[in-house]
Symmetry: C2
Subunit: 418 residues, 2 copies
């Protein structure tokens, strides 16, 4: 139900393994006690490469940044874009705490000591309640088990340990070749609430055995995040902790990618496949969600206009409620198109909604068309709905993803801390 | 419960009468059949002045504008800012309809014929479902009764007729003096959902017997709307139909206000008192709301920064859910401050929450402070909560209003058309 329909791409094969799909990566996840109750899934995990990686990251643009964001940025800067390990926890965001930096640094150094590496080679991400003191004892007491348990099959445990209100773990990996060498790229993500794209996203870890410089890795990540995680909208709240980092250890032995050549394009495509699939998984498993919504805008003057319209539609609370009810209250789509911060002709748009159960045109030249309520209800009863908006202003296009708004979202967020 | 605590202002007395509080205004409201079921309250109303008024309006900035918005704007332009009547209906927004303009013009002309005035002296506002054909028969069949029933006590019926998902009618009026002449200014509003401020608001009618030029009336309205309706946030959806118009008939016989003199200031204050109270009523009766939230930001670099922070906090779905639950998940406030499109020092803000049941400081210098969960839950159990944010960047300030997010909001909006 929460699994998304995956699109096939020539030359790329979906494989298992998540963050352990690439050669030389091991992972582990466990319950350390940050969560009060052991029945609440894992809460701490570690991803480690056998050899030093080139690394890149994108982080929240929220001005109130959690301690792990500050620490990971400073570590990447200190090493010039290198990393060997990534430690993550859920349940506590370690944001707005007077001793936050100290605690995040301590977590990195605890991992670094056991791995016999400099602390700066450890990245960190944390997620959970903002403004609660981060307990360090659970990490101190469990860091040995966490390191000893690292395994080439530890990806699932790691993916579970970063879940907060997520109902399913999110992992995607692909295999492809570069100059005859078999390469792998895989990732895990966590999402659910407090999700609004702004040059960054939720917590995501991507690993690959491709050989690529830190600069090209950063460039690929920054480009791909714009059309994937940054087009994801659950509830308009942009987290203090958003972090997406990629670690590339080069064990695939391809020629090092150091310019925007053909191999770079192929690598970037792999990154896009993994990140776009995780984006859709995050949308479909948004807090309380029962449906994945995808808004495709074409015919826009500029890509910026297209994205503004797509985000406006996908983030309308009123439309999200109507989609939850499979109710064709499509006037709300016209309304949301209208208040998008975009330049377009309001008398020129058309709107088609489609699912695996059918397709209906609701607007033509900015005006409503007659439609059958029964057919509309049947078409909207699917769990993946595409909202296709065609503007009459140019050739630019964009896609944004989101989900419906349900009773469960309220329930989850009225009760979150307890 | 839905009534807001009114602030007292020297020289202004709250009075009854809504849009009929000013001399020479009559109103009426009735069930015409636009709503399918007569048990669903009234759906059509008319407000008329005995003499021609100077008039001014502010309208939605949504690029997809409903027909009544287009028609009212063109009528105000044609008359050079005059009006004698205002016709309004609920249940059908008459937006995105191919014959929308024709229907809105017809409604104006039906009223104009009975009132023996030019059609251009009639303003119109409509609210309800977008993209449904507007039936003209209910207006044709009821325009005579509507006009014959006009009365100096018809304000309540009119205020009821513009309600959609509102649970209570919204009326406020004040009495004050200008140069020894007793003046009155009153208004009615409807709100509930699809409310996001952008230089306009929901449907609102303000009447006054003050003598003031159309130009000064427009200036006062445009200024006051910025700090009242435009600071109101329910769900981020900006309607296609937002309209707020003021009609001033001059029957109070004060010296005509034609410049920014002392009388203008006193008039503007009356307008502010009425519009700020309606704003709070609209917030408190937002769809599904159980609480009025008010965010006061001080210490900002500019008013724009202050307003950006206030709106960001008041519109956080996550905070709104926490407030519904009386849960002090105040990290969400820090998060929302952080993603505001504003320039401020993230290490310098403090946050105090207060209600009639107490006051607690949660953040100092950007970091969380220890607090008692029991005291916080007690303080948050009130139905009006103030969130006071102090920045450390200057002297500018702003206030925004909103409400909590509840199961009822989902219920209302999943079922709205049925």
């Amino acid at each position: 139900m929460k699994d998304v329909k995956k699109i096939s791409y020539d030359g790329y094969k979906y494989i298992d393994g998540g963050v352990c799909a690439a050669k030389g990566f091991r992972a582990n996840g466990l319950y350390s006690g940050i969560k009060a109750n052991p029945s609440e899934k894992y809460d701490l995990c570690l991803v480690v490469s056998d050899v030093l990686c080139n690394a890149a990251g994108v982080f929240t643009q929220n001005k109130v940044q959690a301690a792990p964001v500050t620490v990971s940025k400073s570590h990447l800067k200190a090493t010039g874009g290198k990393a060997k390990a990534f430690i993550l926890n859920s349940k506590n965001a370690n944001a707005c705490n007077p001793d936050g930096i100290e605690k995040s640094e301590k977590m990195c150094s605890l991992a670094a000591e056991r791995l016999c590496i400099p602390s700066e080679q450890v990245l960190i991400a944390q997620t959970g309640v903002i403004g609660q003191t981060m307990p360090i004892e659970p990490i101190e007491n469990n860091i040995d088990s966490l390191v000893y348990g690292l395994s080439e099959n530890g990806n699932e445990k790691a993916a579970i340990a970063i879940m907060t209100t997520d109902t399913v773990k999110k992992e995607v990996a692909v295999e492809f070749t570069l100059g005859g060498k078999v390469c792998h790229l895989g990732g895990m993500g966590k999402g659910s609430g407090m999700i609004c794209p702004n040059m960054a996203t939720t917590l995501n870890v991507i690993t690959t055995d491709c050989a690529i410089t830190s600069e090209m890795l950063q460039k690929a990540l920054s480009d791909v995040v714009k059309v994937t995680y940054n087009c994801l909208y659950v509830d308009g709240d942009q987290s203090t902790n958003d972090t997406c980092a990629v670690m590339a250890n080069g064990l695939a032995e391809n020629s090092v990618i150091d310019s925007e050549n053909e191999d770079y394009a192929a690598f970037k495509q792999a990154l896009y496949i993994v990140m776009s699939n995780i984006t859709k998984m995050l949308a479909k498993d948004g807090e309380g969600a029962t449906k994945l919504l995808e808004c495709n805008v074409t015919g826009a003057k500029t890509e910026k206009d297209a994205l503004a319209v797509a985000k406006s539609v996908i983030s309308s609370d009123l439309l999200k409620c109507a989609m939850f009810a499979s109710d064709a209250n499509v006037g709300r789509i016209a309304c949301a198109i209208g208040y998008a911060d975009a330049d377009f002709d309001p008398a020129g748009f058309s709107v088609v909604l489609e699912s695996s159960k059918g397709s209906i045109k609701f607007f033509e030249k900015g005006a409503i068309m007659p439609f059958s309520e029964d057919e509309a209800a049947e078409m909207l009863s699917d769990d993946e709905i595409k909202i296709n908006v065609t503007l009459s202003d140019g050739d630019a296009k964009a896609t944004a993803w989101g989900c419906d708004l349900t009773y469960e979202y309220i329930k989850i967020n009225a009760d979150y801390r307890t």
